[in-house]
C-alpha cells in the first residue's frame, strides 16, 4: 500500500514534469484585460481631477502651479493597480497597460507627470477647460461625491503667476504625515 502510493506520486510528478517557466529569459506577456501600470494620454486629459479624487491609494495628485498650468503627478510606488482611475476618467484618457515589470531603483522611472494648460474662469478666476464644461458634475455621477479632502486641498492651491516654488513643491510632494503633537 505504501509503495503503491509512492508509485502513484512518482507518476504524477513525472507526468507534470518541469513546470518552471523560462521567465525572465523568455518574455511572458500578460493576458488580455490585465491591469498593469496606468498610462495617461496627455492629449485627452482635461485636468478634471477625477482620478485624483477617487484613487483609493491616493497616488495621483493634481496641483495648479500657476494660473494656467495644472500639473498631474502619478506616483506609481504605492499604486495598487485597481484601475479605478481608468474606470472613472470621463475622457478615457487613462489606459491600464500590460506593463508589470516595474521594479526600479529610481522612483522617477515609474512616475508620470503631465502639464496641462487650462483656461481661466473670468468669473471666479480658477482654471477650467474651456471646450468641455461641467465634467466635475458628470464625474460625480459616475462614482461618489467629490469628497477627497486632501485632493481638494491640492487642487485649490493656485498662484497668479508661475511660481518655481510651487513647482518644486509639487514635484517633491509629500503627503502630510505626522501631525503636530
Amino acid at each position: 500500500m505504501w509503495l503503491w502510493n509512492k508509485i502513484k506520486q512518482l507518476a504524477i510528478s513525472f507526468k507534470a514534469g518541469v513546470v518552471t517557466l523560462r521567465y525572465p529569459f523568455e518574455p511572458r506577456p500578460a493576458p488580455e484585460g490585465f491591469r498593469g501600470q496606468p498610462l495617461w494620454d496627455h492629449a485627452k486629459c482635461i485636468g478634471c481631477a477625477g482620478c485624483a479624487s477617487h484613487c483609493p491609494a491616493r497616488t495621483i495628485f493634481l496641483r495648479d502651479i500657476c494660473q494656467e498650468l495644472r500639473i498631474l503627478l502619478y506616483d506609481s510606488s504605492r499604486c495598487t493597480y485597481c484601475g479605478r482611475c481608468a474606470d472613472l476618467c470621463p475622457e478615457k484618457a487613462i489606459t491600464m497597460s500590460d506593463r508589470f515589470e516595474l521594479a526600479t531603483d529610481n522612483r522617477q522611472d515609474i512616475t508620470q507627470t503631465i502639464e496641462l494648460f487650462m483656461m481661466t474662469c473670468q468669473r471666479c478666476g480658477r482654471c477650467y477647460d474651456l471646450e468641455i464644461k461641467n465634467y466635475i458634475d458628470r464625474l460625480s455621477a459616475l462614482g461618489y461625491r467629490y469628497d477627497c479632502l486632501e485632493a481638494r486641498k491640492v487642487i485649490r492651491r493656485s498662484t497668479a503667476e508661475f511660481s518655481p516654488d510651487e513647482l518644486e513643491k509639487t514635484v517633491t510632494y509629500e503627503r502630510p504625515g505626522r501631525l503636530e503633537k
Binding site: M1, W2, N5, K6, K8, Q9, A11, I12, S13, A16, V19, A30, P31, E32, G33, F34, R35, H54, P56, A57, S77, R78, T80, Y81, C82, G83, R84, D87, M96, D105, R107, G143, Y144, R145, D147, C148, E174, R175, P176, G177, R178, L179, K181
Partner: protein, 563 residues
Amino acid sequence: MSRAEKLRRWLEKELGGNLISAETPFPGRLFIDLKREALTAAASGLMNQGARYQMGIGYDARKDGRGFGLVHTFAFDRDSLLVALRTFAPGDNPEFDSLTPFIPGAGWSEREYQDLLGLKFRNLSDRKRLVLSDDWPEGIYPLRREVPHDLMPPAAEEVAFRLEEAPPGTSIIPFGPFHASLHEPAHFSVYVDGEDIKGCEYRGFMTHRGIEKLAQTELTYNDVPFVAERICGICGSVHAVNYAQAVEAAAGISIPRRAEFIRMVALELERLHSHLLWLGVAGHLIGFDTVFMQAWRIREKIMWLAERLTGNRKTYGLVIIGGVRRDINRESSRDIRSTLEEVDREMQALEKAILKDRTIHRRTRGVGYLSKEETVKWNLVGPVARARGLKIDARRDHPYAAYDEVEFEVPVADSGDVWGTLVVRVKEVYEAIKIINQCLDRLEKLSKNEPLAVELEGPIPAGRQGLSLVEAPRGEAVHFVLTGNENRPERWRVRAPTYPNLQAVPSMLLNNKLADFPIIVGQIDPCISCTDRVLVVENRSGKARLLSRQELENISRAKRSGR
C-alpha cells in the same frame, strides 16, 4: 413564529425597561439596543438559547453624545439569524460587564477595545495588551476620534511584552515572531515538558496596519473595497464582498443578479486556490513536499485563470458597492470550465495518491485534537469546526449572494484532529468546482444587458447598521458597518476567521508533541494579517524618503554596530 420574533418577545419579557429597541431592518438580522446593565442577562440568555458568539465591536460615539458604543453579535445558525446587541456607556465612565465568564471567545474582542478605545471590562480575567505594540504610550487610544490616523508616537526602547513564567516542571520554547514554521509574524511561547506541550501563550498583532481607522478617517465608501481586499493575501474578494454586502444591507441597495453570480464565482475561485494552497502548506509542514509541489502546481492554474478574469493574479479589484466591475462572458465562462475540469482531474489524481499515504496519517491522525464541546465553547468556524463535527457554513446557514439557489454539500468530519481538517478541505475543493459550474450555467442564461452594478441614488443614509457574513475558505468572516456622514463609514469592523480560531490554538496544542506544533498551528491556516488588521500607525503615509544606496548602507551599519 420566527426566531427573531420569539427573541424579541423573550427580550421584552426578560429585560423589561432595559430593552430600548429591537429592529429587523432586513430579513435575517435583529439589531437590539439595550441599557448597559442588561448586557450580561441578554447575552447569557442568547447563549442559553443556542447562539454562537461572533465578535464584539466598540466604537466612539461621543460626537453624538452617546459615549462609547459596544456591539456584540451572535449567530443562530439554524434560523439564519444574526443578532447584534448594542449598548452605550458614557464617555467619562466607559465600563461594561465582561462576557468572558460564560463566553471565553469574547476575550479577544474585549481586550481589543480595552487597547484601542480605552473601554473597561468588569471581570475580564486577562487584561494584558492584545493589539497595541508594547511601546505604545499609555492613555492614547487610537480608535478614539480625537487621535489622528497617522499619529506616530516615538518608539520606546527596552519595552517588552511580559510573557508569563513557565509553569513548574516545564520550560519555554519560543516560536516566532519569525520562525520557519510560521509564515507571518506571531509569537508563541510554548511550555514543554520534555517533548510534550503543556501549554502556550500567544502574542500576536505584530502586523497591525490601521485599516479600520483609515476607513473611518480617510477613505470613502467606494475606496474601502480596494483596501479591504488587501486585508488578506488570500481571501481578497471575501473581504471586499463582505464589506460591500454590509454597506448594501445598511443602505438597502439590491444588486443585479448577474453581479451576485459573478461575486460567487470569484469567492469560490478563491476557495479553490486557498484550499490548494493550504494543502500544499500542510504537506510542507509535515515534511511531505510532494504534496506541496503538486498542490501548488495545480493552484497556479487557478491563479492564471483569476488573472485572465479579473486582471490580477488574485481576484482583486472586482467588487464595488452595488455590484462588480467586470463581466464573465461566454468566452471566459468556457475558459473557466475547461480550467476547472483540468483542476478537478488533477486534484482527484493527487487525492488518490496521497490520502492513503501512511506519512500523512501518522502525522495528522489524533494530532491537534479538540473535542466538539471545546469547539463550541471557543466558537470555532470554518473547516476547523467542521472537522470537529460542527455543521456550520455561512453559505448554507446565512445564504448571501445567490448561495440559496445553488446546490452543494457541506463536508463534515468528526475525527476532531488535523486529519479531519484535511479531509474537509479536500472535499470542499470539489464542492467549490460544483458551485462555480452552477453559477456559470446561471450566468449563461441571464440576459447580457443587465448592468453589472446599480447606480446609487443619493448618498448612503447615516447611522444605519449593516452586518454581513461571508464564508471565507478558512471559515466565516464577519463585517460590521455603521454608516456615517462625510461619505464614509462611521465604523467598519472586520472579523476574520482566524480571530476565533487562533484563540483555541492553546487548547489544541495541549499534550501534543512539540514536533507537531507547526501542523497544529498550520491546520487553522492562520492568517495573521487578517486578524491583525485593525489599527495603529500608518507607516505608508508621507514621510517616505528616497534613500540612496549609500545612505541605506550607512544606516544599516550604524544599527548593527549599535551607534
